[in-house]
């Protein structure tokens, strides 16, 4: 049994077209899984759905998600009761993620109180310890500060301390270093890695930065237009991408784009069409792409959603039969 198992997740704006279609993800304990895609590819939507934080206009059409076998998401339900400690999330824009009128120590302590049932005094003491744990020097002093008195990197450490207080089995990190200095980025990555090794939780690491993926992740899932394109170990993804979109993605950052950032979306995906979401940009598009491609498995840990390879194997099968 995987730590996190997302099956056939489809989301849409109520009464309108489907945005996220049939997304499948698994995450093992102690593993960091990258979720890569352009903005608008559905990375964040997936995460918000898992946490039951979708905006009111969005609905879950189908799918389930379990953490250690406990259901955390069901089609139709707005918000499934989460066993405390299952799953939490840290966001981009760490400054905005903290309540501006509340001291940061109190914000960490509040999680300890409401989730872990600590008393006020215990929570205050443990909050300082957690702030120290995430590498904040002078934690006693910082605990009494308001968010606007801290740097962006410090704020993200505070948010991570809140996440630690929550003791999640699954931590979702949504572009946690956007807008932070490169050195701070590296520190935050290192901190996240340490926490995984220490607590054995799994991390869904949402990003559009392929360099960060190469650094951080054991496996990668690629999303485009709300469709899961490919899932593989990081090494395989970079060396043997199967899906035309993944190939395009890796190709696009080879020549001049040293940043390794995924390019912003093009003309846009027509979500009302039933077929492959990448078909309108795909160099290999052919008639079968008008239907939605199911995930195919090449080996134990490498899956992708495209008819191309299937066609070949189908051809091969037919050839062998005709011989």
């Amino acid at each position: 049994m995987s730590l996190l198992d997302v099956r056939g997740l489809s989301l849409g704006i109520a009464g309108r077209e489907e945005l996220l279609r049939d997304v499948n993800l698994t995450l093992e304990a102690g593993e960091v899984m990258g979720i890569v895609g352009e903005s608008g590819s559905g990375k964040t939507m997936t995460a918000l759905a898992l946490l039951g934080l979708l905006p009111p206009s969005m609905e879950i059409r189908s799918g389930t998600a379990t953490v250690e076998g406990r259901t955390v998401l069901e089609a139709g339900a707005r918000r499934v009761h989460r066993a405390s400690g299952d799953m939490t999330m840290i966001f981009q824009n760490p400054r905005g993620a903290l309540n501006p009128t509340m001291r940061v120590g109190a914000q960490v302590g509040r999680v300890l109180r409401v989730v872990r049932g600590k008393t006020r005094a215990e929570a205050a003491a443990e909050a300082v310890a957690l702030l120290r744990r995430v590498g904040i020097s002078g934690a006693e002093r910082v605990a009494k500060a308001y968010p606007h008195q801290l740097s962006g990197g410090m704020c993200q450490r505070v948010v991570i301390a809140m996440a630690l207080a929550y003791r999640p089995r699954v931590l979702i990190a949504d572009e946690p270093t956007t807008g932070l200095d490169v050195t701070v980025q590296a520190q935050i990555f290192e901190l996240l890695r340490e926490l995984v090794d220490e607590t054995g939780c799994g991390v869904l690491f949402i990003t559009h930065d392929l360099a960060a993926v190469a650094d951080m992740c054991d496996r990668v899932s690629v999303l485009y237009g709300g469709q899961l394109m490919e899932t593989a170990t990081t090494v395989e993804m970079f060396e043997q991408p199967k899906h035309p979109y993944t190939q395009f993605l890796l190709e696009s950052l080879k020549p001049e784009d040293q940043q390794g950032e995924v390019q912003a979306a093009d003309a846009g995906v027509d979500f009302s069409l039933p077929g492959c979401r990448f078909a309108h940009r795909c160099p290999h598009v052919f008639d079968r792409c008008a239907a939605f491609p199911p995930l195919v498995e090449t080996n134990d840990k490498h899956l992708y959603s495209c008819f191309l390879g299937q066609e070949k194997s189908l051809d091969a099968a037919q050839c062998s039969r005709s011989v």
Binding site: T88, M89, F91, N93, A97, N99, P100, T101, R110, V111
Partner: protein
């Protein structure tokens, strides 16, 4: 904070000066002869000359202004044309009556408006939200003088639940010993619970009328700022960290949503100071609003001018106090007086 205070003090002083200048010149420079307005339309030339001399209207304008300004610094707002008494003392003797209605109405508007605004925002798009939004529109479309009449008609004329709308007290009841000037408070302070109840009964209809006018902006601003707060990134983080919705509503939502509401109280007081003219006239309430109404009826420009200046000054000073409170409450505004986020 000191720099902020200094700056605020200077702009406030300028605004206060501006108020006096504007009112003074509006009364004297705009079309319409000040002497004719004072002496009435049927005065002959001799009487007009007499009035001019009495009020110093024959002197150059700047001299008139300087002497008026000088008077204000000594708490003198001129002399009533009709009663011959000091405008300032007439206004101040009526102020407690106005404050008694106004403060209760503002308090009641907040007691109703804040929870309603919070609930509407928390159940945004639901039936409660719809009722609150409709309530805001209905209340801000309400003609206060008409609503007051309806209330008097039903609760006094038809049902007889409340005393006649003719004064602060029924004719056969004397006021409590003067402590604050607010009769309800004074009656309670002197231990006359029965009298306090009598006073309160006379207060209820005018307060209710004014409250309807004041509750709309409170509900609207609370709802809006609450919706904004509940949609913020930090509320999302708190939710992601498993903080229960009720806790978020009170600690993240209400606390932060109330900051703009503090500013809104200033607006509400403005409504109150304008609205009390109508309410006091309707209920024959002996406050400054009715004083203004009577001075208009009597063409007593000196008195009206005093009223407008008093209201303007109170309003400006109140907003300064609110501004300072806001800065004390909001930790984002650092001690240096500079907002950093």
């Amino acid at each position: 904070m000191t720099r902020f205070l200094a700056r605020r003090l200077v702009t406030t002083a300028l605004t206060l000066l501006g108020i006096v200048v504007v009112v003074f010149f509006v009364v004297r420079v705009l079309p319409g002869d000040a002497a004719v307005l004072r002496a009435g339309p049927y005065a002959d030339a001799e009487r007009l000359a007499q009035v001019r001399a009495d009020y110093g209207l024959d002197k150059p304008l700047y001299e008139q202004f300087l002497s008026y300004m000088g008077g204000i610094f000594h708490g003198d707002l001129g002399t009533s044309t009709v009663s011959g008494g000091s405008v300032a003392s007439e206004l101040f003797s009526r102020l407690p009556a106005s404050l008694e209605i106004g403060l209760y109405a503002v308090l009641l508007a907040c007691l109703i408006g804040i929870p309603m605004g919070v609930l509407a925002a928390a159940h945004r798009g639901g039936w409660l939200d719809r009722i609150v939004r409709l309530g805001v529109i209905a209340a801000s479309s309400m003609a206060m003088f008409w609503l007051g009449l309806l209330l008097i008609y039903f609760f006094f004329y038809r049902l007889g639940w409340f005393p006649a709308p003719i004064a602060r007290l029924p004719a056969d009841v004397g006021p409590p010993r003067h402590v604050t000037g607010l009769y309800t408070l004074d009656a309670l302070l002197t231990g006359q619970a029965g009298l306090a109840w009598t006073v309160a009964r006379s207060l209820m209809l005018p307060v209710l009328t004014l409250t309807v006018a004041l509750v709309a902006p409170v509900m609207k601003i609370v709802r809006q700022s609450m919706i904004e707060t509940l949609g913020s990134d930090y509320v999302r983080t708190a939710r992601a960290m498993g903080v229960p919705e009720r806790h978020i509503l009170m600690r993240d939502g209400l606390r932060n949503a109330l900051l703009p509401v503090v500013t809104a109280i200033g607006i509400v007081f403005g409504y109150m100071l304008g609205g009390n003219i109508i309410v006091e006239t309707l209920f024959a309430w002996p406050g400054i609003g009715r004083y203004a109404y009577q001075s208009i009826q009597n063409n007593d420009l000196e008195a009206l001018q005093g009223f407008v200046i008093l209201v303007g000054v109170m309003y400006v000073l109140l907003n300064v106090v609110i501004d300072i409170c806001y800065r004390l409450i909001d930790p984002r505004i650092s001690v240096g007086g500079k907002a950093r986020s």
